[in-house]
Symmetry: C2
Subunit: 216 residues, 2 copies
Amino acid sequence: MARHSSGVMSQLQERILNFIRTYEADNGLPPTVREIQTGAGVSSTSMVSYHLKALETMGMLARRERSSRGLVLNDPHQASPRDIFSVPMVGVIVASAPAPTPDADALRSAEEYVYIAKSMVKTPGDLYALRVKGNSMIDALINDGDIVVMQKVNDINNGDLAAVRLMDRDETTLKRVFKEGKRLKLKPENPTMSPFYVDARRAEIQGRVMCVIRNA
Amino acid sequence: MARHSSGVMSQLQERILNFIRTYEADNGLPPTVREIQTGAGVSSTSMVSYHLKALETMGMLARRERSSRGLVLNDPHQASPRDIFSVPMVGVIVASAPAPTPDADALRSAEEYVYIAKSMVKTPGDLYALRVKGNSMIDALINDGDIVVMQKVNDINNGDLAAVRLMDRDETTLKRVFKEGKRLKLKPENPTMSPFYVDARRAEIQGRVMCVIRNA
DNA sequence: CTTGACATAGAACGCCTGTTCGTATACAAT
DNA sequence: ATTGTATACGAACAGGCGTTCTATGTCAAG
């Protein structure tokens, strides 16, 4: 059998590929042929060129001719930065306090970020994340420690899941909201529970819930 | 006033920065000085060098001396691919069927991916994602359409949230699992509900829940 | 054994690329 | 008027870099 015919990588080729991956992760750009040579322990630049050509034929990477560092790995299930939203974590949501609605400064100064795929967000816009404290959101199927990704919106659409501050009870809650005249219908996300109604003037919409994330 | 002293970018510098961003997104690697020259409409390479140095001083980017394409943008809240896990979506979990536990092939051939930050995963390992169908997971605070990120594990630790197949009822459920002799204690994630017990031989652990994601 | 495909070494070629140098212009402060 | 700073241009240098060429080695198939 030919040693590595179609599609089977040699040890050296695997080493080269791994080196490129590591190098990119560490440096943010692809390596040169000579960096691959020393980094992956290849004896000459021509060998690197040779194997890169082979790897390209196998479809493991794409190359640009005569272009320095002109190689791009073909890792299909590798997230590209442009597919990802970085959502700043700006605070905590507890039932007994209004949820933060951050301004541009707070968004920039956030120290922690949640990453979510752009494909999971239907409508673009200013996103921010809150950590849920306590288990008062149980009827929205949200637990202590969960993260909710919120969107800053001026107004909500009927049926949006939103953070609502109920002034009479002095608490914030996450519910599906429907406008019905002067009342708001608040429907728990938990289908075993019944909706209830509040005076629209005694409730303040604080944001729209885009996504809930729980670590188990 | 000095025209652009500390920290304020000139139009040209902004154009250069934008070109670099676009170029990287399109090509997967940073541009050369001369590519910036033509791409951003700069008159000479020395001008590019000049402004890159200025941008570096401002902290907008980092440079590697004498290294081709040796520049890395400083976009703080930009996700880097190395911070992201791409989790393949391999199927659906419904109460009335065993949850898929994919092999290596299924993981590679997945067509949809969920991206989650590595910082959110405590223990590394083979991850895969399932979409939840129906609302039979309500007592685990999981709704129809939610995504659960699972980890392939051989054995679970006491207190892990796991997918358990109950043979007697012929259904799969997500519960916190504790081994108690020959029995398993299954504790709903919903604190208003009570735990219950099953014969360990009549229950099959199908995976460990790492994370739950819900789109609202 | 011969053949042919694959793998390897080393060196050289020539373009690519970052850098620098000399010169020049515009403008504000002195 | 002079000085200093920011900006700009074009050319040239030196080393970086991808590529290619020749010669050699290895191993399975015929």
